[in-house]
Structure formats: structure tokens, C-alpha cells
Amino acid sequence: MIPRIGVVTFPGSLDDSDALRAVELAGLKPVPLWHGTDSVQGVDAVILPGGFSYGDYLRCGAIARFSPVMSEIIKRADAGMPLLGICNGFQILCEAHLLPGALTRNAGRTFVCTEQRLRVESIDTVWTNTYTPGQEITIVLKSGEGNYVADEETLRRIEGENQVVFRYVGNPNGSARDIAGVTNERGNVVGLMPHPEHNVEDLTGNTDGKPFFTSVQAFLARALG
């Protein structure tokens, strides 16, 4: 059984088609999910893609997090379903308190689009288990609100619990402790600002993002038997 990966489209989502393509290129079955329905069609994992859901009104991800589809997603994530939030998706996961901390305006106050060097800090998650610890990769980063913040206690806790998944090499936006991506305690929910779905083809970049998809594939192969 080929694992089925859902990708949610909110009003204003932009990188949903790229995420769907990346899933397909990885040999998995992409399933488009509409924000307005409360069914996730029994998928095995969900990706919340990048974009400007609801125009970033109020705060990035603040409105999308209350979409009908999110209640089902939160329920399943709490039960262990793999969930990946990319950029705006990461913002939605933080607003929904599935991940600690919050994303705020880049310290430099401009939108930054760059091919960003990252260090893999933890391979102990559903989405990163096929990387190697300390591996340096280059992934597309394109955001204006990528500055990760959390209070001291939270930062200490997630560092101690190995919940920091990626760190910037050369901090582009002022994120606390150069944090580019985090995971929850269980390791099934991961959020990151950079866009691995843009790094799956040599023609348009590099393929440093592919291990996200091989990782979830490996996890699901074990989990689903």
C-alpha cells in the first residue's frame, strides 16, 4: 500500500501544488485536502504548506488554525499521525499550540528569499530520520515572518528535550538560538520555516529536501507494516 499524504489548501495557500508534486516525486500518493471540509480522507500523514493563508490577516496562520479541517488534523496528530508544517504551515502549528513558540516579523523587517544553509539537529522525528545528525543542507527560505521566538523556559526545555530539529547556519531573520524548525515531544509533528518541497529536483535547485519524504515513507512503512 502506497502511503497517502494529504496536503491542505487554505484560502491563500501557495506552495500546496509544490508540496503535492514533491510527494508524488517521492513515490507517495498525494491527496489534496480542502480547508473547508472536516475530513482528511483517511490519509496517513498531512502537510500544511507554505503561503499566505487568509492573507496573513490578524497574524500568520491565526485564522487558518480554526479551519474545519484542522480539528480532525489536530485529533490525529495528538494520536501520532505524522504532521509537517512548512513556513505558513509552521506558523499554523504554533498558533494551534501543536508546537511551542511563535513566529514573528523578520528582525531585518524585509521579506527574505534565499537558499539557506541549515544544520540538521535531530533525526529523531518522523520527518527527518533519513538525514544524518549534524548534516548541513541548503533549503529554500522565503518569508517575512520567520523569526522564531519563545520564552526562556520554553527554549531551555525544547533544547533539553532534543526538540530543535533544524538550526540556521548564518541566521537570516533573528530567530532565537538560530532555530529554523522544531518538533513536538513525540516527534511526529515537525514545523520549519524553510521549504523542502522546493528542493526535490536538480532542474530547479538541489535535492536536499528529499529526505523529508523518504523519512515519512520509512516511518509509515514500519508503522503500517
Binding site: 492573507g55 496573513d56 490577516y57 490578524l58 497574524r59 500568520c60 491565526a62 485564522i63 480554526f66 504554533c94 498558533e95 513558540g101 511563535a102 514573528t104 516579523r105 523578520n106 528582525a107 531585518g108 523587517r109 524585509t110 521579506f111 518569508s143 517575512g144 515572518e145 523569526n147 521566538v149 519563545a150 520564552d151 533573528g174
Partner: protein, 138 residues
Amino acid sequence: MARVVVDVMPKQEILDPQGKAVTGALARLGFEGLSVRQGKRFEIEVAGEVTEAVLAQIRSAAEKLLANTVIEDFTVYAAPAPEQGRTPQQAAALQQSAPQQTAPRPATTPRPVPTQGTAPQPRPVQQAPRPGTGGQQQ
């Protein structure tokens, strides 16, 4: 109709790059010694009176949606009702003289045309908010 206001400000320990930028800009304009933090204000119209129950309801709305309590603090309070009929801009506009002519340009430029919509010198225009409320990417 009554009005409740929710003020949302970034928590003290959160970096406020916009506030910083505004502080710097003010200083460059000669407004020394001012330190600015930038937040958001929500004006909520409620039917009937502002009771404690209404305030509690709005506090709950603020907690759930209007503010992200990880990074923001908020205050909720009843505000005086708006003056009937006019926005402040409208009141000011009516006090000025009738439709403002643009200053004539030298011979080689035309009379202003509506679709071009501009004047040689900047004249007061309503500053519309940029897409998304405060704190959003620009």
C-alpha cells in the same frame, strides 16, 4: 450600539522590530527621547450595553483569537461611542475649502487626469493600511 476596545501589544521580552524602526525614524526627525512599541487595536461594536458579561466574552475572544498569548498581552475596555455620522477625516475635510485644485504644473505637463491620480506635490491622501494588519510582511 456600544464599543469595546482590545489593545494588543507585543510582550515586553519580545523583539519588536517595527517599534524599533519607528523609534529610529522619530529620532531622525528630531523627536528625541521617545521609545516606541507597536501593537494593534481592535474596535468591537456590541449591541446594547457593555456589561461585565460582554467584557468577559470579549476577553475570551481576545485570548482565543485576537491575541497570540505566547507573544502578546492584551487589555479590554469599554470605549466612548463614535460621533454620529462622520469619521474624523470627514469632519476635517468639510472644514477645508471646496475641492482642492492641484497646483498648476509648468507648461510641458498636463492637467491632472483622474486615472493618473497624482499631483506634482504630495497632497494629503488617506493612508490606507497595507495588506494585513500590523506586524505582517511588507
